[in-house]
């Protein structure tokens, strides 16, 4: 039973592409066959984040227009069995694809893969409609900022209007220290406003910049705390319950440091 998940946000720059790449890697690490699809036609980037930019010959528009076979356009990630990328066209625009074309493409991908992840473009126009067309469910990415949360709320409404089931939420760039001093909305604050289930709370961490520079998503890195959260998101997507959020490991205070010195607690420092 395969599933197509669209990763969307409304607002640009909140981490949809990074989330898609990392979730794709993490699901493939769990032994799933995964296709990640870049639906941001004209502004492709998923290839770059995955480090596969030099291997593109055909793209999503070629497949939809019948200029090549699906198999020819899919790029296999050599680092990980089961992970494939379908890149976006760079020289076309969003109107090159229709919701119907996407639906057929997704149906074809679902025959060969356990998971099809669609990296949705920012905005609520054609690109969004195309991305949602073939999806079975949606993951909304936001950051703890007012503008991102406002747009996420709008997108939740549009996802419901598209008759998809209730979406789930990933809060990106979470800073536990700012939350502790009351200058960033907490997990509870955000959920009080958006009221959908949380499946990821990703710490704001420099590993994301480094991994993008290298074209190797943080989920590959066993030592990365943010990579660890993406691996946990994959487990939650697969249905595992009660997987704790890395960002909510107890932040250090004088008292917890003292306790650790005395060997009373194994509380781990939250990455900032």
């Amino acid at each position: 039973m395969s599933e197509c998940i669209v990763i969307t946000s409304g607002k640009g720059g909140v981490g949809k592409t990074t989330t898609t790449a990392n979730l794709g890697v993490a699901l493939a690490m769990q032994g799933k066959r995964v296709a990640v699809v870049d639906a941001d036609i004209g502004l492709r980037n998923l290839d770059l984040i995955l480090g596969l930019e030099n291997r593109i010959v055909y793209d999503l528009v070629h497949v939809i227009e019948g200029e090549c076979k699906l198999r020819q356009a899919l790029i296999k990630d050599k680092r990980l069995d089961g992970l494939y990328l379908l890149p976006a066209a760079q020289t076309r625009d969003k109107n090159a694809v229709s919701p119907d074309g996407m639906r057929k493409l997704v149906a074809q991908l679902k025959e060969e893969f356990d998971y099809v992840l669609i990296d949705c473009p920012a905005g609520i126009e054609q690109g969004f409609k195309n991305s949602v067309a073939g999806a079975d469910r949606a993951i909304i990415v936001t950051t703890p900022e007012v503008s991102a949360i406002r747009d996420a709320d709008r997108i939740i409404g549009l996802v419901e209007a598209a008759e998809l089931p209730e979406p789930t939420l990933i809060v990106n760039r979470f800073r536990a220290k700012m939350v502790a001093r009351g200058d960033m909305m907490s997990r509870e604050d955000i959920l009080e406003i958006l009221a959908i289930p949380l499946i990821g709370l990703v710490p704001d961490h420099e590993d994301i910049i480094v991994s993008a520079n290298r074209g190797a998503p943080a989920a590959f890195d066993e030592k990365s705390i943010v990579g660890e959260e993406y691996r946990r998101i994959a487990r939650r997507v697969l249905g595992e319950a009660d997987v704790p959020f890395v960002a909510l490991d107890v932040p250090d205070t004088a008292w917890t440091i003292l306790k650790r010195w005395m060997g009373l607690s194994g509380a781990r420092e939250v990455a900032q």
Partner: protein
């Protein structure tokens, strides 16, 4: 001093996030119903005018706001303190 004390124990004190939350709560409801603050003011004035025909109301303490309800919908919530009900109410 108390902020330092709170910080030492890792407690939070109200910071800018309370502004974020309260602004968002108002904004998201208005995004949903597409009613602008000036339209809300106009509606409030019109409702007040109707009620004033039947009761003596305290105009300064009237509250009229849109709130999100659990079911996901929006509810118009008002609190209108009445000084006394007038006998002018006769139709």
């Amino acid at each position: 001093m108390s902020a330092l004390w709170d910080r030492f124990f890792g407690r939070s004190n109200a910071g800018s996030k309370e502004d974020a939350k309260s602004r968002l709560k108002v904004l998201l409801v208005h995004d949903q119903v597409e009613l602008t603050p000036p339209q809300m003011e106009k509606m409030k004035a019109e409702i007040m005018a109707v009620i004033a025909r039947y009761a003596d109301i305290d105009g300064d303490r009237i509250e009229l706001k849109l709130e999100r309800v659990e079911s996901g919908g929006v509810s118009l919530v008002s609190s209108i303190p009445v000084k006394r009900v007038t006998s002018r109410a006769a139709g």
